[in-house]
């Protein structure tokens, strides 16, 4: 199977992508939304022509509490103004200022205290780690009968590697998007990461499951000798399904991204990146890693 034979190429592609993502994250950082940092968000709809971001920035810059505020377009007619935490009275003042120049309708006002934001960060990290831990445990359990030639715990470890790959790529993409377009990471983004976790592992499991099935009738000696071949055959038998499932999921996500409205647009985008990364890693990375792990074992003389 060419994927197994050429696995080094895929390792290199993945390493480059992951490396680039990490560099981007390290240099530009990730732009966190008010869910994480605390602050206020005001969304207004412009019933007549929508002004440019710059118009709004210069208009509200006269207000002291709007210092450091950022403005972004949202949906077809609306704009979102993000700032540090403001009171309800200050928000009313802001609305009055805007009403002085435009015909607007106030659509949304959110304020989140800074402690709540810090808490969400902790929570998100805890949630991702816990999900990861439980899923590895589950995989080690589900594949407990295939301890030869590679132990079930290693199947679990490899899914973690695949997942880290699928997690770092969307983070990198969002670091870039944040830098260029001011797109922020919010609690829905974390949700997307957890969905990607489930999805990526689901994909990997289908391939592993096939390996498990194909190994079952073989005796221990044959398993060792023909492991590479079995893995290759299993990928061959499952990649049509992996790609088809990804395609249908991507169809649904693209519909959500294009037509689903502003609230869930970044969520859809994060998922699109994650699903592509997840499909790639389950076909080209996870099973190939199994072969690499097995070769290492052989060298050590196990």
């Amino acid at each position: 199977m060419w994927i197994i034979k050429q696995r080094k190429i895929f390792y290199i592609i993945s390493s480059i992508l992951v490396g680039l993502s990490l560099i981007t994250i390290a240099t530009t950082g990730i732009k966190f939304g008010i869910d994480f940092t605390g602050g206020s968000l005001v969304e207004v709809a412009f019933l007549e022509d929508r002004p440019t971001n710059q118009d709004i920035v210069s208009l509200v810059s006269g207000l002291e509490f709007m210092e450091g505020a950022s403005v972004r377009e949202s949906g077809d007619i609306s704009m979102v103004i993000r700032s540090k935490e403001i009171t309800n009275l200050q928000k009313d003042e802001l609305i009055q200022t805007l009403e002085g120049s435009y015909t607007i309708e106030e659509e949304r006002f959110s304020t989140i205290g800074p402690s709540l934001g810090a808490e969400l960060k902790t929570k998100s990290i805890m949630a991702v780690l816990l999900a990861l831990f439980l899923i590895v445990l589950f995989i080690a359990f589900a594949f407990r009968h295939v301890s030869k030639p590679v132990s079930s715990g290693k199947y679990g470890m490899i899914t973690v590697v695949a997942f880290l790959h699928d997690l770092i790529l969307p983070l990198g993409v969002f670091a870039l998007l944040g830098y260029f377009f001011g797109i922020e990471v919010d609690s829905l983004f974390v949700t997307a990461l957890l969905v990607i976790l489930g999805y990526s592992i689901n994909d990997t499991i289908v391939v592993f499951d096939r390996i498990r099935e194909n190994l079952l009738p073989l005796n221990d000696e044959t398993k060792k000798k023909r492991f590479e071949e079995v893995v290759g055959k299993s990928i061959e038998e499952t990649y049509a399904r992996s790609i088809n499932t990804s395609l249908t999921t991507l169809l649904a996500l693209t519909a959500l991204y294009l037509f689903g409205g502003a609230t869930t647009q970044t969520f859809a985008l994060a998922l699109i990146v994650g699903v592509i990364a997840g499909t790639y890693s389950s076909i080209f990375l996870a099973s190939a890693l199994l072969v690499t792990v097995k070769k290492r074992q052989d060298k050590k003389g196990m």
Binding site: E107, E119, N202, T245
Partner: protein, 451 residues
């Protein structure tokens, strides 16, 4: 033949379900009116998040205090006249010990944040007030003993309510603790009160001067109970007896203790959503759902031909079951919930695809279509099960970690989606396939493109 009838039966159920779904949205039809429940982000309203300071409370009292707080705030919220307000307490995972207790208030349809914050107001107070017999007598003279169900107009109530009870200066701050007791001979529950130093003196004075009178207890302006002062009490230890059930006694004690040590609340999160934003999100969400569904179905039919048609029906049944569950569980629909439903469409097909790919292998191996369906479903099961368990793990963790209703709505829909999609793939797809497959292979029931 049996298989065909069963497939037909499923198909008819599907039609009936669709009809039911539409009818329950309609207020004046024969079927019970049961509209979808929309979250605050879709119908507009105010969301307020408070931090409850329980630092002064003993660990075992926290739950009771939070329940009393919730009920008190509920009473205040009900004054808004909002339909279906939500008041709930939450323990936030991942927060520090002193800030993890939360009170969430959601008022659909309210858009004036100031009014909402003021209406919910500050910390509730427990008060002991004496019933004024004179006012009561005038009241009865004027209106007689009120029969049950007779209600007075607002002015009539106001005329008396201000004067009916006299303030005594005795408040929750002077109450040390309340406990449930069981009195012999037949373990009748009663409530014992212990006042603190200052409270003891004031209570003594009140009971000495007003023996035989009624000393009513109010929490946040609402009457809790009206015990009669039987005798002067000098040691600050009183007992309220009466025909309480154990449950009533416990509720009363909980409220009294809450009044003795009220929980201060601090606003840490607010959100106001205007009424127009939600409508737009729903319209766009439904449109995206339909486009997504259509796209997937077209893909499936091109790739899997007749099998694709079966998958299309199965997927439509999946959406229908989800919508019926939204309605009858009920699930509060939010923007993220709609996103979850759309996402789950793609994933729901996964089980179908797994089965079809297996069926394809069986067909290639020379099995007849009927046996291919049976063996294919069987052999796909372990992948479907294991893959979905990992998705379920994610969903459950999301649900428990998310304080934000935005994420919770998604997690619930996602988890439901995983479960329902397993059902539709294994039961619906298999049944429909068995109902229509021919004995011999033909072009329609072939699959995909030849290599």
């Amino acid at each position: 033949m049996k298989k065909r009838l069963f497939a037909l039966f499923i198909f008819l159920l599907f039609i009936l379900g669709g009809w039911f779904l539409v009818q329950t949205e309609n207020e004046d039809k024969t079927v019970q009116y049961r509209p979808f429940k929309y979250g605050l982000d879709l119908q507009g309203g105010v969301h307020l998040g408070y931090k409850a300071d329980v630092s002064a409370l003993a660990e075992e009292d926290i739950n009771g205090a939070m329940t009393s707080l919730k009920e008190t705030i509920e009473r205040r919220v009900n004054l808004f006249g909002v339909s279906e307000p939500l008041v709930q307490t939450e323990t936030s995972l991942g927060a520090s010990e002193e800030s993890k207790h939360r009170l969430i208030v959601e008022l659909p349809g309210v858009t004036d944040l100031n009014e909402a914050i003021e209406g919910i107001g500050a910390t509730p107070v427990l008060e002991f007030k004496l019933l004024d017999r004179d006012v009561q007598t005038t009241f009865f003279e004027k209106y007689g003993e009120l029969e049950e169900g007779v209600e007075l107009s607002e002015e009539e109530v106001l005329e008396f309510s201000d004067n009916l009870y006299r303030t005594t200066g005795l408040t929750g701050a002077l109450l040390d603790r309340a406990l449930v007791q069981f009195l012999p001979p037949n373990n009748q529950p009663a409530i014992s009160l212990r006042f603190n130093g200052e409270g003891k003196d004031l209570f003594k004075e009140i009971t000495e001067n007003n023996t035989g009178e009624i000393l009513a207890i109010f929490l946040d302006g609402a009457l809790l109970t009206q015990p009669v002062i039987q005798q002067a009490i000098t040691n600050g230890e009183a007992q309220i007896t009466g025909q309480f059930s154990v449950e009533e006694a416990q509720t009363l004690v909980r409220d009294l203790n809450f009044g003795a040590l009220p929980v201060p609340i601090e606003l840490i999160e607010t959100q106001v959503v205007g009424p127009t934003l939600g409508k737009e999100i729903i319209e766009k969400g439904v449109f995206a759902l339909l486009i997504g569904l259509a796209g997937i179905c077209i893909f499936l039919i091109i790739w899997y031909r007749a099998w694709g048609v079966i998958a299309t029906i199965a997927l439509s049944i999946y959406v229908l079951i989800m919508l019926l569950l939204f309605k009858f569980l009920p699930v509060t629909i939010t923007a993220s919930g709609i996103a979850g439903l759309i996402l789950s469409l793609g994933m729901a097909v996964d089980a179908n695809i797994l089965i079809f790919e297996r069926v394809k292998e069986e067909l290639a191996g020379g099995a007849n279509p009927r046996n291919a369906v049976i063996a294919g479903t069987d052999r796909a099961w372990s992948s479907i099960r294991d893959g979905n368990i990992s998705s379920l793990i994610s969903a459950v963790i999301l649900f428990y970690f998310s304080g934000a209703s935005l994420v919770k709505g998604f997690a619930l829909v996602f988890a439901l989606g995983v479960l329902v999609s397993m059902f539709t793939a294994i039961v619906v797809t298999k049944t429909l396939a068995l109902g229509v497959v021919p004995e011999k292979k033909n072009l329609l029931f072939g699959m995909g493109f030849k290599k």
